[in-house]
Assembly symmetry: C5
Homo-oligomer: 369 residues x 5
């Protein structure tokens, strides 16, 4: 019965979409609960995919329209995944599953902070999916994932196709790994949440490597170090803005008494909360280390200036008096007795050597040379 077709690898997010808005697209004065019209020219390729499973069977259907996909789905817990939703589709989803209009509005008015909200008979979560854009770099691709879940359904809305973070969850359902097929929609929602939170760790690892590399660099900095420092600070700030409210949200979900979340699932949510706390602590440690590195950077710059100035000072103060003596005996006065001494030249040179020696002795004592 279980019909699990092999899914093609989804196309990666285009670079144009990786340059994100940092401020939510809220238009003041709009009637709350109305969905924004699609921006002209932004025709994201929609994809609706429904997985339905019971303890015994899995059906996986994909359709161009919501009704088509739902009709074909089997019995049990249903997971509707939508890539690139637009207003009309969300409207139909809202009507079908009785989703709250304010939640639907949040799905479309992009970058929202992560949160968990409880409505009468469903939960609504906003999560931020963070991925490195290029390996070895700390650039982050930041995508918003909206998750609704009720008694026996879960809806996930992704901004772009490319959500391979959820692929292991799909595989777990297909292969009946763990307890997913035995548990309800709340456990599935937990699995998705867990997948997103665990997805922060590879990014954190990349940041950790970068911070370590920068630490060595700041002790002998070149101008690009400053830019790299700033860049990493940005990434850390982005991570923090994603992880901080996620931790809070998971904490709320775990503590709240609700018939929609089973007691056994709560134990698992505590684990996710724990991971979020751990991620946040790493972020805070990185922040502090980067701030400290800025201090070190400035200090090393000062040290260099000191060194340069010492060389200048030693050379200048050594030769200026000598040159002065030489220029005295370069004067053209008629009556300058020294000029006619037999050993005048030797005397002048000796004077110079004497002065230079004294200077050098002084500098050495000062530790400049």
């Amino acid at each position: 019965m279980a019909d699990t077709p092999r899914r093609e690898p989804r196309p990666r997010a285009t670079t144009s979409s990786s340059r994100r808005r940092s401020v939510a697209h809220i238009r003041p004065g709009t009637t709350p609960g109305t969905l924004p019209a699609p921006e002209p020219g932004a025709t994201t390729p929609k994809r609706i995919c429904v997985i339905a499973y019971t303890r015994e069977a899995v059906t996986e259907t994909e359709g161009k329209t919501l009704e088509e996909a739902l009709a074909a789905a089997g019995p049990g817990v249903r997971w509707i995944n939508v890539d690139g939703a637009d207003a009309p589709l969300l409207q139909r989803l809202g009507t079908h599953f009785k989703l709250h209009p304010l939640a639907l509005e949040d799905v479309l008015t992009g970058p929202q902070r992560p949160k968990v909200e409880r409505y009468t008979d469903h939960y609504f979560m906003i999560l931020r999916m963070l991925r490195r854009t290029t390996p070895g770099q700390v650039d982050i691709d930041d995508e918003q994932v909206s998750v609704f879940f009720g008694r026996d359904w879960v809806i996930t809305v992704q901004e772009r196709p490319g959500g391979d973070v959820f692929d292991p969850v799909r595989d777990a359902i297909r292969q009946a790994r763990g307890r997913v097929r035995e548990a309800g929609a709340d456990y599935l929602a937990y699995l998705l949440l867990d997948a997103v939170v665990d997805g922060y760790f590879p990014v954190l690892e990349a940041v950790s490597d970068r911070v370590e590399a920068l630490e060595a660099e700041t002790l002998a900095p070149a101008p690009p170090t400053l830019q790299a420092l700033q860049h990493t600070r940005h990434t850390v700030l982005t991570l923090r803005r994603a992880i901080w409210p996620t931790r809070e949200a998971v904490g709320v979900l775990q503590r709240e008494e609700s018939p929609l979340v089973a007691a056994e699932t709560r134990v698992f949510l505590r684990d996710s909360h724990d991971h979020a706390v751990q991620a946040l602590e790493l972020v805070e440690a990185f922040r502090e280390m980067l701030a400290g590195m800025m201090d070190v950077y400035l200090s090393v710059q000062n040290q260099r200036l000191n060194e340069v100035m010492k060389v200048l000072t030693v050379i200048a103060t050594l030769f200026i008096p000598l040159t002065f003596i030489a220029s005295i005996y370069g004067m053209n006065f008629e009556h300058m007795p020294e000029l006619h001494w037999r050993f005048g030249y030797a005397y002048a040179l000796s004077l110079m050597v004497l002065i230079a020696g004294g200077m050098l002795f002084y500098f050495r004592r000062k530790g400049w040379w």
Copy 2:
């Protein structure tokens, strides 16, 4: 029945009023609850406008006096909007709607912090309406809006005409958009609150753009950068002082059990609270970024000083010894054997080249050149 005249665009706030006091106009020792007399010469053009609506009909009246306007209003929820209130008018409003004298006093004693206060049978809110004065700039026009609401009435008092932030709410009432015509005064109050909070986002977007521009600038700063940095910091501080207490106030309104606020409205207030939290997080992120940019600015200045000093040091330490040699052979002693050598000149020049070469080698090894 619905009489909805087209409203002319209101005149923009004059520039003179955009230079705001930052300290509330509290005169120590005044009896609490007394309204301040109008400042001489400050004759703001009053405008009273009443919108009354039921599920079926809307009436919109405007009058020179309060009594006139109220008399003409139809049945249902009444929204009295006053532009540029003065003490006598507030006194009459207070008597008519049984407003608390302390709340009335707050309306007139200028910049108050946003708050929500519950009185026996009405709520009182102070909000700060923030708008950019000029597009592309981060200058903010900051206006105080006072909102009272009771069982079936809402009073809004604006300092100056120009409150186009509320125009969409008016349109929603006129066109019966959303659930406004079905809900009570609490929902209307929520809509106004929501309009003010959502109005922060265009300002935040402007600040976001400016912060991004400044970030690039600080890596190659010119003196005006410093001023721009300071200016933006100010704007962020102003935003923070407006948004922080707003968030708090909305949170209180949402959580408090009160017969004046319906349970369904609470769900919407949670959404507004969420927006306020999001705005605040952006503000905090901007603050941190601007503080970091100050560090970068100082570091780049140091870097430049370093570079200038290196050039000076290289040139000076290169030529000072050479000039010393030249000045030695410029001395006029009678007995200077080198002067009479056949290749004395060549020898002196060679000596100089040798010394210069050694110096350059040393500088290169130091990485200065």
Copy 3:
């Protein structure tokens, strides 16, 4: 019946007393609840003045001794105001009104932090009255005011005569303005508290002006700017230390259930609390701005150093090579072919012009000139 004599303006605090101790005069090891003996030579002129009022009448009496003054007072709520209390007088007050010895001790052991304390049948408040010493300056005169209030009496103890902050309250009682004559001792205590809190705002306004002036100055700072910055920071710190605990204390008084504070008075206390919060927020904003200005100050100093160094570098690196060339041809070697060339001088000058031109081109490209 109402006998309200015109009061002379009280003499201003002497400058000697405006230099305050910043640490409370607590002598370790003293038995708690004992009053300190007066410091020798500190004979503050005592003044005891009692205002008693009912809804109908006011009596105002003044006496050299407490018993004298109380005996002469009429019926109703009694307000005993003492300027410059000493231990024996407080002892008698304590016995008469059953004041707690610990509270009495706090009155005399100088700078205490603002607080509200509840004893069995009276409240005890310590407040800090802040006033500008000279207009246009941010110097603060800081005086402690102790307020006791019970069922139908209020006692205020001021350190020095000069408490014109309370004069409007006296006038309100005499002229039966507001609801003071109808309410009890708790409302009078509120009025006094309100007078003190509102008295912070003119000081804050002065600080606000000074901060704004300093902001402009830091962009082109002179040495006195640094001192002015520090001075203003101090004032802000003093304000903070006065306002922070005041806010807390008023909050406690407002929330606490007590038969001594009527429910209606609580609404007014909420207003005072609000003012204290607003004052505190201003103080925090000033603190942040002043800290930011210190950064700017340092940055502007660095900028100037940069500018000075650039001038030095341009001049020195321009002329040092030229002087070197000149000194070469100033050498006295017998065999220097260039010296005998017909256009030797012209050649030397041309060489110099060439080098100078190259240098200037390099500097311009670097943006130094």
Copy 4:
């Protein structure tokens, strides 16, 4: 009956003990509740002294062993004071008064943070006694005092003799001052706690004076200023580490419902709590001021560097071009027309004066001279 012998002034702490460990002497892996063996060579002179008092009488006994001293004590509340306790003595104390082994362990494993702990039928407090070592300095002598108190006994353990902080309490008992002879062991414990907390204020006053002196110094700093700043920061940090947990501990003691602490004593504990809060606020103010002074110090250093550089720049840029001109006319070319001009010398000098004048005009315009 009251036998109160005159006590000799105790010997001052030796300097060797004033150099304190900053980390508690916890040896990992020891069985909890075991007392550490005395460090070899550390034979602190033990002294056990018992004061017993009722409303009518006081007995004061001193003995070499605990049993001796207790046997001789009269009826009533007993205060056992031990200077320089060691493990065997504590063991006997513990057995006699049923003290908890963990508390006994804390007494000996030195620097513990201040705390109050409640055991089944006694309280255990750790306090830090701070004293200035030398008047006029901010060096602090930091001693740990352990206080146990039960229904009718108080035990104090001091590390070294020299606890004159408790002498006033002894005198109060002997002379029946205040309510000490009427109250129980809890009031005596309060008096001791109060004595320790009030002992912070002279230290704070010394710090306050030093901070004020440093403030003036930083505006014209000499190198020792930096060390003095650091030193004072340390003292403030030490104060903070002592006062912060003390405040917390007193707060706990005051709030906790316990049959061992009478309601009347609670009012007095609130007063101690208040003093601790006040001390802490002073400490925080000092911290902020010292941090601000570090900024000023750096700024003044920068200012000086600026000044020095300006002098160098003015002199160097003034004379370098002039010297260049002089060296041109010092060249030995055969054909240099100017040299043969009649007014060549005057022309050269005039040229120099002209250039110097132009330079000076430029510098003045720049504000450098």
Copy 5:
């Protein structure tokens, strides 16, 4: 009966393992509760060792497999210690003691933050064991210890052999020291927790010594000081990340009502909590001191630059004018009257002395010399 074999000293951790990952080894998308497969090549030598004890007897067994070791163990409380666990072993442990799969997963997915988690019938603790790698240094060896405990068993899992921190606990059991043999599994768990927390203090002592040494160094810093400062800051950060959550976890364990933790054990846990708080306060004090030292370091650098610049300025400004005069009289004009004066040379020299004297006077007044 008590069979307590002498245990060989375990081999020290290899240096390769002391270079720790700082980010937990969480692979996104794995089904929660599955144990990671061992990394290829990482064949840690497993060791399973069971101690079982009653009030009367102790048996100590060691086996290659879990079943072997458990079978041989005697009656009473059982402590199973595993060094270097792998997935299959944990699986068997989990099945035998009904451990929660999420807890088992945390044991293997490396650096987890310290925590205490309560499952249905057992507790799970993660602790961080910190040790100095080399005496006299502040390098830290950081090992994760997982502790499970139920009604009458305790399981400890260490990453590597070398856990001599637990040896004193073993000895206490063998020799029936303290109350360990009379108490249950909760007390044993407490002892292990206490051993870990007390193990932080020697590290803190080392850091304390280092901070003190650095403090002296910063006043006369050499370049390595900066690196040492950074290094110590790192150690302090690591300590903080270990101690902060430990304190929290112990606090939770102490407060929580649970049948698994006896009331008497709670008193001991409060002591551990206290130690953790104390450790944390030390860490915070070190952090603040190190941050302050960075400021001092920068200031001392600036001071040195100032000194160097003063020397340069004094020498340069002294000799530049003198050299200028000399070069004037080195010019070759035909008509220079001074050159033919009888005392021209003396006049020139006097002029120079005069100018030099004036300069020196000026410098002395400036305090530069």
